[in-house]
């Protein structure tokens, strides 16, 4: 369309390949290749092995995976409830109140995650709420971080919602609670699952705030990957990273299937 000559098109595609492949495709390929390598000095990995995966799915590494999964699921669900509630309430408010609610709920995106971690650590290491050293402080920090994305996705979906359905339901005598439960939430379900998937993925990969406050008995997978690579075990770090990516993708895939089922309704 933009380029009409055949040579020009090939030039554009070649430019794309030169930029795209080494920058975006190569890193992922390299991490996967390294996770199967026993040795890598020189151009290509050598001594193929699956030993890193065997180590990645037992003992402390397995524990780190379950820690991450539990943290991400709990934090996403909490964030989804909090964000959806706030978005539904905000949609009913006047423009100026809604704007200040938007600003409040978007604050965790603007504030650096490390600072959120520091703030949560400072606030909950003292009475009245002593959470330092427990798993709840990690879940709490993750919830704070991902609530912004839940709020934002659901808010955007509410704006696109056709008001005719709820007006019809209300005109037929449905109470506001019934309209919310039987009309608005089902219509929002595809966006809710999408928002949940987004929160889950973000929480699975969260490192910044977690580094500030993880207790020794609640080590999520990204922290474990860091400690592995930091002591020089790059290959087992890569295997853990592949496990992290695979777990995230599997859950996202499952969530997107819920979405397609819901949209047929």
């Amino acid at each position: 369309m933009l380029v009409h000559s055949k040579a020009g098109r090939w030039a554009a595609w070649a430019l794309f390949a030169v930029l795209f492949l080494p920058l975006f495709a190569l890193p992922l390929v390299v991490v996967v290749a390294a996770s199967f390598a026993g040795h890598w000095s020189g151009a290509f990995p050598s001594d193929p092995t699956t030993g890193h995966y065997a180590a990645a799915v037992r003992g402390e590494s397995l524990q780190a995976l379950t820690t991450s999964l539990v943290t991400a699921v709990v934090a996403s669900l909490l964030a989804l409830v909090l964000g959806t509630w706030a978005a539904l309430a905000a949609a009913r408010l006047g423009r100026r109140t809604k704007r200040s609610l938007d600003a409040l709920f978007m604050l965790p995106v603007a504030v650096p995650s490390v600072v959120i971690g520091l703030a949560v650590l400072v606030a909950f290491s003292r009475p009245p709420l002593l959470l330092n050293g427990t798993s709840s402080i990690v879940v709490l920090a993750h919830t704070v971080l991902v609530t912004a994305f839940a709020y934002q996705s659901v808010s955007a979906a509410i704006v696109r919602l056709d008001p005719a359905y709820e007006q019809a339901a209300a005109s037929l005598g449905a109470s506001p609670g019934y309209v919310l439960w039987r009309v608005r939430l089902p219509l929002l379900l595809p966006s809710l699952t999408a928002a949940g998937g987004l929160c889950f993925a973000l929480s699975m990969g969260e490192l910044s705030a977690t580094m500030m406050l993880y207790p020794p008995d609640w080590v999520p997978l990204p922290v474990r990957i860091f400690t592995a690579t930091d002591r020089g075990s790059l290959f087992s770090g890569s295997a853990l990273a592949v496990v992290l990516m695979a777990a995230t993708l599997l859950v996202l895939l499952a969530v997107s299937r819920i979405r397609t089922r819901a949209s047929y309704r």
Partner: protein, 312 residues
């Protein structure tokens, strides 16, 4: 993430809502709700917003307030002694400089690279272009430190690039040693954050009427001129929104810098982590944190203004 941020256009406020709560209650969500008895048995709508706001107040605003309080009240000296000590230190100024130039450089790189890639995906489509767009979506859901991990294998001292170099030239060691310098962080940030520019650009390009391009080129405009005069003006809002989001995220990036493991690359988030966790100097960490909050929140506010205008 980029999609969600781009879509947060303000809802058109229903006109009848203004009558339901007092104007004083409309300005801030934390202000006390209007008297509930005003409209009989139904609660005013703002009451429904109070529980989530209260939760956020406890888990976000109260902790942030404590950080500000700690930064102002160190154990010794006056109220601002913590600030003068930290802001005057060479380590802080160096971290501030590194953070700003890395973020600015990465943003420019992401904008250029993202524009070129989105342009080709949208207007010189090839078989598999959709798959590439999908791949970019997936890329966004991975943590940033994966990129640094991969770069260690590609450009590390015994990595691929140096290995190929020594194999080809027979030299004893390769020329790539930039990974532990700021340039390694810059490369990783450009790689990781470019998709955040590509996504809004592809969305903007999909709304562009291709007939405009056909007309322009049938009137004799070359591709460069079509890009400059037709596509670029349409893409500017998306570029501005994507660019400012990337700028904020680069300022706040931690995982990439941490995984680089370079002692001489210290950004503000790294300084916060170092002061708090490695040195246990919480007042100083809080001072750096406050400076970091001010910079990022200011820029994020700018981003919201720009993206609202872009969405309008």
């Amino acid at each position: 993430m980029a999609e969600a941020t781009g879509l947060a256009a303000p809802a058109a406020a229903d006109d009848d809502q203004a009558t339901l709560h007092a104007p004083a209650g409309a300005s801030a969500p934390s202000s006390p709700p209007p008297a509930p008895a005003a409209r009989g048995r139904r609660l005013p709508r703002v009451v429904w917003a109070l529980p989530p706001v209260a939760v956020l107040g406890v888990v976000l605003l109260y902790p942030l307030a404590l950080v500000v309080q700690q930064s102002l009240a160190p154990d010794r000296g006056g109220a601002f002694s913590g600030y003068t000590a930290v802001l005057g230190s060479a380590a802080f100024r160096e971290a501030l400089g590194t953070t700003v130039w890395l973020a600015a450089g990465a943003t420019v790189g992401c904008l250029l690279l993202g524009f070129v890639l989105a342009l080709i995906i949208a207007f010189v489509p090839f078989p598999g272009a959709r798959a590439v767009a999908k791949f970019i979506d997936v890329f966004l859901s991975f943590p940033s430190f994966l990129i640094t991990l991969a770069l260690l294998f590609i450009y590390g001292t015994v990595g691929m690039a140096n290995g190929v170099w020594t194999d080809v030239t027979g030299a004893s060691e390769g020329p790539f040693h930039f990974l532990t310098t700021p340039w390694g962080v810059l490369l990783a940030e450009i790689t990781y954050f470019t998709p955040f520019v590509v996504r809004p650009l592809l969305a903007a390009f999909s709304q562009l009427d291709t007939a405009q391009l056909e007309v322009a080129s049938s009137l004799g405009a070359g591709p460069a001129r079509v890009i400059r005069r037709v596509i670029l003006p349409e893409a500017l809002p998306a570029l501005a929104a994507g660019g400012s989001l990337v700028l904020v995220m680069c300022l706040n990036e931690f995982g990439i810098v941490l995984f680089t493991g370079a002692k001489d690359v210290t950004t503000l988030p790294m300084l916060v982590y170092g002061k708090a966790i490695l040195e246990s100097d919480y007042p100083a960490a809080c001072v750096v944190a406050v400076v970091n909050i001010v910079i990022s929140v200011g820029l994020f506010g700018l981003y919201r203004v720009v993206s609202k205008r872009a969405g309008a």
